[in-house]
Amino acid sequence: MPMTIIEKILARASGQKSVGPGDLVDVDVDTVVLFDSSFFPVDWRDVLKVFDPDKLVVAFDHRIPAPNRACAEAQVTGRAFVKRFGIKRFHDVGYDQGIAHVIAAERGYALPGTVLVCQDSHTGSAGALNCAARGIGAPDMIYAATTGKAWFEMCPTVRYDLRGTLKPGVVTKDVFLHLAGNYGDHTGTNIEFGGPGLTGLSISARRTIATMGTELNAEFSTFEPDDVLFDYMKARTAAPFHPQYPDADAKYLERRTIDLGAMEPLVALPDGVIRNTVPVNEARGQHVDQAFIGSCANGNLEDLAIAAAVVAGRRVAAGTRLIVTPGTQEIYRQAMKAGYVETLMNAGAVVTNATCGACGGGHLGILGSNEVCITASTRNYKGRMGDPSARIYMASPATVAASAIAGVITHPGEFLAMGAPS
């Protein structure tokens, strides 16, 4: 039976010739990722055994360095767990620190054609690496860490063929906002990305889309493998992997073509992204108290680069604060070397350590009552980043940086050479 990418990966992982929509599959898991929140007493159990310590990754990310005693205690528990089972791939506060999903890519832990699970909802991020990756919640994550197994219900797949090239100043966050606004939610379906337009997209740019697949309510988001991916993997790991391509006659629920050259900067209005996006100029002029750039979706080096290009030689508006949180300390170091951190700080941005931080309303930028935020992160649900009365707009790092400079929601074309604003 012809198969899509995700069907091929999960058929292999479950030891079957083929799988298709409606099947419940039991798979062997290749990588299990834990983070600091995994070790809160409410979720954590005294684990007696792990199936294979070398298949586990522990990356503290949600609340680091610990902002309160409960978080500090969870990290004490996590460090003891790492020590007890001899887990080598441990990313504690320090040099190797970073957001687990960014680490999984940056360190070459997420291998093409393999299965990766984590409790966190944005685990689908590794789908950019041709990996069957998704969040499964804390209890099922403990089951996977203990037994090496997970189950999935197979769903039909929607295929997106990408063509053309993004215009300067337009990024894959805008592509995601286009999908959310135009096609709405993808509940009960997988998403597959391929086509000639992939060539022009870096792995980080693809990860932004794969991460945000969660916000489309997709099951698995998976990208076709190509030379960009193989070069990325070769630079990071010698571990064997098994890239999977879709069969030419694979069955899709629907097949849609996206012309990347036609994409424009978009913004999602508060409280959700589904069918809730407009061109930036339609929200233009809305005052913002806080502008945030970070998270597993937008804490990449190129996100910091475009933000720096927008703010270079300018100052964040009075009455507005710009917070920038790199995805990993490695990205932070690279951004320092490239001069982005200096440019951002000279503009008045606060550059924090790598963490999930403000994205989840955890720390380092929580919103107060009735504040307005524009964010290049993962979610804009009511209350997501702090007080439920705060209003959160979502956009690309370029649009967020431009809005921080102007103090109001602003098209990045006002500060970046990218052609006339639409």
Partner: protein
């Protein structure tokens, strides 16, 4: 343990589409909080009276994508803290569904449920017969049988108990 075969009768609290986990358990009330805090803020952004008036045994009816957003288990613990006996929704976000099963909160995908019940109605859920009935209108909808592996998790009282018994069967027990 949860006996799915015990017939449930509960008053309906009805919500719309895409009730996300931030509304069930808000940003500042996540994993590190206890049950009281979770109950006090649960769904109050959508229905301010919910946490005050909800009674043990009530049932929650919702539209599409129930539980979307963050994977936080506190979004399930919050409904436990409110005494919600079961969730019935048009569709349920995958991680919320997994967490509910793993934490033994009865949860059912029932297409058409938002048309079967209005807020304040009473629903009778008979899992054994595979039927949910509105006691006022008498109208019914089918409730699909869950896979055996999922029934086993409810019987055990959650996935943690399943893990413990699978390990115990291999001779791996706490010191």
């Amino acid at each position: 343990m949860i006996d799915l075969h015990t017939t449930l009768r509960g008053r309906v609290w009805k919500f719309g589409d895409s009730v996300d986990s931030s509304q069930l358990s808000g940003g500042s009330h996540t994993s590190s909080d206890g049950g009281d805090n979770l109950k006090g803020t649960c769904l109050t952004s959508l229905r301010p009276e919910f946490s005050r008036e909800v009674q043990p045994g009530d049932v929650l009816v919702a539209g599409d994508n129930f539980g979307c957003g963050s994977a936080r288990t506190s979004a399930v613990h919050a409904l436990h803290a409110c005494g919600i006996a079961a969730v019935l929704a048009e569709s349920i976000s995958r991680i919320y569904l997994r967490n509910s099963i793993a934490l033994a909160l009865p949860i059912f995908v029932v297409p058409g449920i938002t048309k079967l019940a209005e807020d304040g109605d009473t629903l009778e859920i008979n899992y054994t017969d595979g039927v949910v009935r509105n006691t006022k209108s008498g109208n019914t909808l089918p409730v699909a049988r869950l896979p055996g592996s999922v029934e086993k998790i409810y019987q055990a009282g959650g996935i943690a108990q399943v893990i413990a018994s699978e390990l115990a069967a291999r001779g791996i027990v706490p010191d």
